[in-house]
Amino acid sequence: MYKAAVMGDRDSIYGFAAVGLEPHPETDVQKAAAELKELVEGDYAVIYITEELAAGLEKEIIHYSERELPAIILIPGVKGNTGKGMAAVKRSVEQAVGSDIIFNN
């Protein structure tokens, strides 16, 4: 039985805490990296990270993306959408196809 976690600044994630995701408020990149490592090793199937925080954790996120679990998913934070989430999808398209054929319209 796995849990789902959500990381990011407090304002962005407390809404998700109410509906049952486990909140891990964190804004400092270094601490977040340590926390993310802990979460990845723990019993979590999905970890949502705000795009803002993820910007500093790119290396870790790519590193963990090859594991079957957990899924690390970027979500827009309270400060707005930076387009990083879509960029992640775009990246996997580019990896698979060799060039971007989905988002170029």
Binding site: G15, F16, A18, G20, E22, I75, M86, V93
Partner: protein
């Protein structure tokens, strides 16, 4: 393309031929795998894109509602209200095999039997905006989980497609031409050996005939015999 370093023998030739057969078969299978993976991936990634657009839009409106709610009440009251969540989401994971890639399948369970049981506070000290915001978040949650499943599958499949593509290319452009070149080289060499031993045998035969009967060449002898008969007649 460089050929492999092998001895040009018949045994080596057979070995190369069977290797080539295997490589060709593997190439065909891997190509099929790549094509099918790609097809599935494209379907999934389109869904992923649509879902992400929907989820991002949903989260945006949730955040908007939360900001409104936060404006309507004090920060302490808000923190107290959301401090101890009542609901908890558990995820059962299974896995689905798509062309030998194990992609996760999530099914969601909630701690309390009623998934709508999301309000962790009494309604007395909170603004109604908060209720709306929490409800919106709860509505977006299933889509978020589906997004997680979908996006993870896409990532895993992308990795596998890349690997498969590399293998296909390596077989197609390196291994198979190499084997073909080597096979060609061995056949040429064997043919050449065959011819040279043929010539050697003919030469030896001539020498032996000369020694035994004294004529230079069997054919030459025949020609001179014919000439003599012509003269006689």
């Amino acid at each position: 393309m460089a050929r492999l370093q092998v001895n040009p023998t018949r045994m080596e030739l057979n070995r190369m031929k069977s290797k080539l057969r295997t490589a060709k078969r593997g190439h065909k299978l891997l190509k099929d795998k790549r094509d099918e993976l790609m097809r599935q991936f494209l379907i999934l990634v389109r869904e992923n894109k649509a879902l992400r657009e929907k989820v991002e839009e949903g989260i945006r409106s949730c955040n908007k509602s939360f900001v409104l709610a936060r404006a309507g009440m004090s920060a302490e009251a808000m923190n107290v209200a959301l401090m101890s969540p009542k609901q908890e989401v558990y995820i059962e994971t299974g896995s689905r095999n798509v062309m030998s890639v194990d992609v996760p399948v999530f099914s969601v369970k909630t701690r309390t039997s009623d998934p709508g049981d999301i309000y962790s506070y009494g309604y007395a000290f909170t603004s109604s905006d908060l209720d709306g915001a929490v409800k919106q978040t709860a509505e977006i949650l299933p889509q978020m989980l589906r997004l997680a499943e979908c996006e993870k599958s896409c990532q895993l499949m992308a990795v596998e497609i890349e690997k498969t593509r590399r293998r296909v290319n390596a077989l197609e452009h390196v291994m198979i031409p190499q084997y073909e070149e080597t096979i060609k080289y061995i056949t040429m060499k064997l043919d050449e050996n065959e011819r040279s031993s043929q010539v050697r045998l003919m030469k030896v035969k001539d020498m032996m005939l000369k020694e035994a009967h004294g004529y230079e060449d069997y054919d030459k002898a025949a020609v001179s015999r014919e000439k003599k008969e012509e003269e006689r007649s």
